[in-house]
Subunit: 229 residues, 2 copies
């Protein structure tokens, strides 16, 4: 396997970037690169993880199943994202499931090599800490949105989020392809309500679609909807 962490561009995007060359080498010697096909699962809720996944390419959804059986997507993770850090840090089974939305390439980094670094390298721990602080802030915002915004506002917000955080394709469409049901599961609503909302946004020329692909046509109007104007 010629993919050394030291040379991996993905690393620049996450907390691993603060590690020194030797530390990265140690990790690289023990990591395993895996290919995951669209629809396959990286791990499931309740599993005990033995390490984290670093996404090299492709996109994964992280979701949690509620008692009533509906799944809630809590995060869409793509290139550079590290998946599973939280449960490694708190040393407990994972509270989320991860499923590939694309064909993916991920590196699996065994737990003990990370824990070594957490114990020895304050910079790394600090980087993780900052990252987690940001996740937490984001989570607070999501809670407020869930609690107080309408389905339409949340759909608009989700589209805007995807547009901001993932590259667009050649035609200007948002580069992550989600089914309507997946979008509904991000938004926290029923598939039908999600479809209806998208239809209404299309009618108002705020977005356009082609199959599952979505393009924003009127950014300002979308923003106004998010704000509830």
């Amino acid at each position: 396997m010629g993919n050394r962490c030291e040379n991996c561009i993905v690393r620049q995007l996450n907390s691993l970037k603060v590690l020194k060359k030797e530390e990265l080498k140690a990790i690289s010697d023990h990591k395993v690169t895996r290919s995951i096909k669209k629809g396959e699962s990286l791990f499931s809720e309740g599993e005990k993880l033995n390490g984290i996944f670093c996404v090299r390419s492709g996109v994964s959804k992280l979701s949690k199943i509620s008692e009533n059986g509906k799944g809630q997507i809590v995060k869409i993770a793509s290139k550079g994202e590290m998946i599973g850090q939280r449960s490694i840090i708190s040393e407990e089974q994972t509270n989320l499931s991860a499923v590939a939305l694309d064909d993916m390439e991920v590196c699996f980094i065994p737990k003990n090599h990370l824990i070594d670094n957490i114990s020895k390298n304050v910079e790394f721990t600090k980087a993780l800490l900052k990252h987690m602080a940001n996740d937490l802030k984001f989570a607070d915002t999501v809670i407020v949105n869930m609690a107080q915004k309408t389905v339409k506002q949340r759909v608009a917000e989700t589209i805007s989020y995807l547009d901001d955080n993932f590259e667009k394709d050649k035609d200007g469409y948002i580069g992550v392809i989600l089914t309507r049901e997946d979008i509904a599961n991000v938004v926290g609503t029923a598939k039908e309500a999600c479809i209806r909302t998208l239809t209404s946004l299309k009618k108002d020329k705020i977005i356009s679609t082609q199959g599952k692909r979505i393009k924003i046509e009127d950014e300002k109007a979308l923003y106004n909807i998010i704000q509830g104007i």
Copy 2:
């Protein structure tokens, strides 16, 4: 001020417990103990904090105002809780407001003394990291609940949460006194819907109330409601 951190019981409840005696002394020399009256604010959304607050007694609500003007309570913090850590770690203005629900006693610990410890003491950073990982897990659960549970389930969940996490008074009532509106703002619903739900729970002898005080009468039934049974 005779209250030295080294001797403070509250410290046992949070990440400060891993600090060594000398480190605590340094913090203690620079902390300021403050009394905050019921209804007063510790800080407001958007403020830049110069340190964190460690709660010695009393209870505070941490909330976020959404664009439509409604407040969402994200956390109820009581004895031992450290307030403001997140924004100190990510070095940005706070995303929450903190208001006292009780008369409170808090210790203000200036930022630079904490940052010292974060940089020098890996154990402390690790403790913070674990704490934040737990907060994040909890936040994920709240997101799912908000997205997928009914108001009744969420009200029940909130009562159960308060019952589990705060001491009860002599008569067995939950020890945190929230207004109906505050409960609604935790649950993410309107005051009226919250009141109606509590009324219905009373009718079914699942809880009883006396003024603002709430007592759980039928824990099992409450649990079933949370589960949507």
